[in-house]
């Protein structure tokens, strides 16, 4: 660890910049949803922000369920004795 150089994301400012860009981009897609008239194939799709909510919810659900699953299926690294 003799590396004294500072890299792009060593500055918290740059990390914040990335996060805020993402938040703004999310907001932009929601605003576009208000003004846009979307053609839909499925009734759920016509709900405002359906895809946004689904994306956020699916991700949270995935992590949550996996944590539960971890208790059930996770074993130590040398579990298989081969």
């Amino acid at each position: 660890m003799n590396d004294k150089k500072t890299y792009l994301f060593d500055k918290p400012r740059n990390v914040k910049l990335v996060i805020w860009t993402l938040v703004l981009a999310c907001a932009a897609t929601l605003i576009a949803d208000v003004f846009a008239h979307r053609h839909v194939d499925h009734p759920w799709e016509s709900m405002f922000g359906f895809y946004a909510a689904f994306g956020f919810g699916a991700y949270a659900l995935l992590v949550l369920v996996s944590e539960g699953l971890r208790l059930l299926i996770q074993r130590r690294k040398d579990y298989y004795d081969d």
């Binding site: 890299y7 576009a32 053609h39 359906f50 895809y51 992590v63 996996s66 579990y79």
Partner: protein, 565 residues
């Protein structure tokens, strides 16, 4: 123009590479897929090539739109991987990649099932060396398990073919109804190689154990060859829709929990195969086009991701998410190309996944498979988690592991660059791919609603990641084993075997003791009766016997006398 069977070129290439050395061998290896591509170009639209073998006519090569597209794809994949391999070229890897390429070409251009069988077996036998080449004991064990399942798949296919021949049915590579023994045997055989649920585990068991290069080419060829065969033999088989949907969903949980990043990508591979299989199951023109387009795009971005992880493994000697982090500092080019692969698999607009994946999802909605559509949508968010975020984040960003490895070697960078260009090229100019698909394409990927909804899905899923990260709820990775169906044959079966051996041993012991007791008893009885002083050895008995003889003799004499009167 003259053309030969595509597999021949690879076989000759493999043979030449086997005798050549050094730079010459490298040139032969890389040139083989190029010569193959020229041959493929000349092959387009040619008549079937047949040979007679044991009274059966084998259709060695039959060209159609589907096999041509897969042919181009696999030539490209083999080429890219052989370039990638130049960072540390070994004869074993180069020869097996070429022979493996020959098997794949043979399989996708096979005009009948017997020819397919020949190359189907070749797929496993040639690729296993890419696992063995890793040289670790773990790889060796995984290679044996791999070979067993690959051979099982071949045996099932062979049994299916035998039943077909017995029933006097055609062996042509034409759609089969999923009815009767033959079709089910063939279906299961393809299912093993395509990673159907419960038959999937060899993928995640073997691929992470192969060499840096081996994993890349294996992830590209075997499973997609099976996808090609499913599309040729079982299009529109409804069962495939549910099999495919299951495959998109269950691996993403494993991918979340897994620490080994190449194993994360292997689970992700099953998830991707699920999309293709769902498309084949729906079977409409849009769905089949979607499945094939997805296969094409997928080979490029999945190879790219595996290549970037191979570079990380090569430079750091580590591949666990818990051991890596912060590598963007010294491996910026690898980082950027990994992100291109991640954006492609997550289906961000302007990347290849975006123009491919949505076709299957549209087809699911149009076919009225609402729940399947929901499953695919959930799986799409899952892909963003494990392949879109986890792979680049834990390897190149995240916590600083303190490692400052060198940038990936040049050959690796060139290979990744070619794959990156393909990913973006297909994403920006989808017609290039669409024009090659089996059916005419009317699908328009870049509509306002498609771009907007896809961005919403992905950006908000990414936002969820940020929220979990900032609130420290995002789980930490740790080295571990996550139980999967392989538990049955890696844990249960050996133990059951040992248990049975011990129990049978007891039983055998008891049997032996019992027989000993029996023998001893018999000996004792014999001794008792016939031994010295035994019942039958006593002197009085001999006199008794002579007395009996005398009595009987007298009786006979008396009877004779009585009869005389």
């Amino acid at each position: 123009m003259i053309s030969v069977a595509p597999f021949l070129i690879f076989l000759v290439g493999a043979a030449l590479a086997m005798v050549a050395r050094g730079r010459v061998r490298d040139v032969i290896a890389v040139a083989t897929p190029v010569v193959g591509a020229i041959n493929l170009w000349a092959l387009d639209g040619s008549a079937p090539m047949t040979v007679m073998l044991f009274g059966h006519e084998l259709i060695l090569v039959e060209v159609d739109r589907l096999s041509m597209l897969f042919g181009w794809l696999f030539h490209l994949a083999v080429f890219v991987v052989l370039v990638y391999n130049l960072y540390r070229p070994t004869k074993l890897e180069q020869v097996s990649i070429l022979a493996y390429g020959a098997s794949t070409m043979g399989a996708i251009f096979a005009g009948d099932l017997l020819t397919l069988l020949l190359f189907w077996e070749g797929l496993g036998l040639t690729s296993v060396f890419l696992v063995l080449a890793r040289g670790t004991r773990k790889a060796e064990r995984a290679a044996v398990r791999y070979l067993m399942l690959q051979v099982l798949s071949g045996v099932l296919l062979m049994c299916g073919i035998i039943v077909l021949i017995n029933q006097g049915r055609s062996l042509a590579m034409a759609p089969l109804e999923l009815e009767g023994l033959a079709a089910w045997l063939i279906f299961l055989s393809l299912g093993i190689k395509a990673g159907f649920p419960l038959l999937h585990n060899w993928i995640t068991d073997t691929y992470p154990e192969a060499t840096e290069t081996g994993t890349v080419i294996m992830s590209a060829l075997t499973t997609k060859t099976s996808i090609y065969c499913l599309a040729s033999l079982f299009p529109g088989t409804e069962l495939l829709i549910y099999i495919g949907a299951t495959m998109t969903v269950f691996p993403i949980f494993y991918a979340v929990l897994e620490d080994d990043l190449r194993r994360v990508l292997s689970y992700s591979l099953i998830n991707q195969l699920g999309f293709m299989i769902t498309g084949i199951g729906i079977g409409t023109e849009l769905a089949i086009n979607g499945a094939v387009a997805h296969a094409f795009a997928h080979v490029m971005y999945k190879s790219l991701l595996f290549m970037s992880m191979g570079a990380v493994l090569y430079r750091t000697g580590k591949i666990g998410a818990s051991e890596l982090g912060g590598l963007y500092r010294t491996m910026p080019k690898t980082t950027i190309m990994c992100i291109i692969g991640a954006a492609s698999i997550s289906a961000f607009p302007l990347f290849s996944g975006f123009v491919a994946k949505a076709m299957v999802m549209s087809a699911a909605l149009q076919g009225g498979y609402d729940w399947v559509w929901i499953a695919l949508l959930f799986a799409s968010a899952g892909v963003l988690h494990h392949a879109g975020i986890k792979i680049p984040f834990f390897a190149f960003f995240g916590h600083d592991s303190g490692q400052r490895p060198k940038e990936a070697p040049k050959p690796m960078l060139i290979a990744m660059f070619i794959a990156s260009v393909m990913c973006i090229g297909i994403g920006v100019f989808p017609e290039l791919l669409y024009d090659q698909l089996p059916y005419p394409v009317t699908y328009e990927p870049y509509t306002f609603e498609h771009v907007l909804t896809q961005l919403q899905l992905l950006l908000f899923a990414a936002l969820c990641f940020v929220v979990l990260r900032v609130t420290k709820l995002e789980p930490h990775e740790r080295p571990s084993v996550n139980l999967d169906i392989e538990w049955t044959y890696r844990w249960l079966l050996p133990r059951a075997g040992r248990w049975a051996y011990v129990k049978l041993g007891y039983f055998a012991n008891h049997l032996r003791q019992l027989s000993q007791v029996g023998t001893q008893g018999t000996v004792w009885l014999v001794k008792l009766w016939h031994g010295p002083g035994g019942l039958f050895a006593r002197d009085p008995l001999i006199s008794m016997a002579s007395l009996a003889v005398v009595i009987i003799f007298t009786l006979v004499l008396l009877l004779d006398l009585i009869q005389g009167y």
